[in-house]
């Protein structure tokens, strides 16, 4: 079965290969195989598969990864617009819908 992929060329993921020490943590935490390790450095190889969850950036001990992370959730974005806050889906436990 073919793998699902969302829109092309939209994600904000950036990797500074210079400061990368090749620890491979980003590869371990990425749920969509966005990174690959070669020549003792991580590389972004499947950018369009990134869902901006932010796990790689948070777990990079070198701070080499930047991504504007958040949930890709239309209801959350509408909530954010209506309440004038950051996009937020109702995962807090008080709402019923969860992304």
């Amino acid at each position: 079965m073919k793998e699902l992929v969302y829109l092309s060329d939209v994600v904000t993921l950036e990797l500074c290969e210079e400061s990368c020490n090749g620890c491979g943590m980003c590869i371990k935490v990425c749920p969509h195989e966005v990174f690959e390790l070669s020549g003792r450095k991580a590389h972004i190889v499947r950018r369009d598969y990134c869902m901006e969850c932010g796990a790689c950036a948070l777990n990079c001990p070198q701070n080499s990864i930047k991504v504007n992370s958040g949930v890709g959730c239309a209801a959350g974005i509408i909530n954010g617009i209506l309440n004038n806050t950051e996009p937020s889906c109702g995962c807090s436990g008080s709402d019923s819908n969860c992304c």
């Binding site: 992929v5 901006e52 019923s96």
Partner: protein
Amino acid sequence: MINKSYYNGSISVSDTTVPVVLDYLGYKDYLGAIMVRWGINRNNYRVNPGLYAVGKPNESSDVFVTANYKLTFDHVRKNLYGIDGWILVLDTKGVNVWCAAGKGTFSTNELVKRIRSVSLDKVVAHRRIILPQLGATGVAAHKVKEQTAFNVHYGPVRSSDIQKFVGNGYRADKEMRKVTFNLSDRVKLIPNDFMYGKYYLLGAMVILFLLSGLSGKGLSVADFSTNGLTAIVNVLFAYMSGIIMTPVLLPFIPARHFSIKGFYTGSMVYLILFVLDFTGDSLLENFSWFFIITAISSFLAMNFTGSSTYTSLSGVKKEMKFSLPLQIAFAALGVVLQVIGKLI
């Protein structure tokens, strides 16, 4: 200690009593899972945060960290079948690991706090804790190490791979690390999504039912009885198109935008209703129903981005900028045409 149906006695470790939980599920767990999938008691389906045991763990046993959503907790203990281990439950306000990590409740701070509050360093002699991979969105492994000396090992995405992961020498292979979104994953989400929009569904049904009774002579009871039912059926089908058809057929519908996928399924549903003669006699009425059905279907399909496992915030924002105005325009146009069609 309160006795829960999934408790199986307790053991004492370093001056505290730790509840032992069953490594299999009972009928109450299955019943609870079905109800929670339908949104019943969903916000209160929790276990107490803290330390639990499965089997007969000792100081060298593994520690598995999870969320306090009971559905999640049940998956973990069931998949630890036959293993002696510790389960450390974080307080995620009853939310699953991935959502809680995104929300910041399954977090570095909460993990560090919980490790300290249960004195994990006295319970086990090693310094190894196993986290679900999807918890990485909220936890920085190197910071946990700094603050507690515990080494975070990110395990598999699915708890069903835990035993394989442990047997592999705490290494998750490629397949274990990857999030999938196959048919059964998608179908499980449908009941909750269906219940989520129930008031909007009823609202839309009421509005279009009322419109169905409208004519040049004002509201008439006769028109309600002839057209009211078709109005309700059309709205219900549009709703199901967005909530059921789009998720089920997701990989097979061309287009990457969820709103366009929903527009396609909505168009298909419109065609079916047209053939069944549910979309009115005049061209105006037919256009009206086409706009209304595709708008509803497209909007609901777009909301499924939040349930999916591969959409990004930037992508959804981009999609909405183009789709939301169109959906609103379609819905408004549909209602206006409906009114005009009734009055002329």
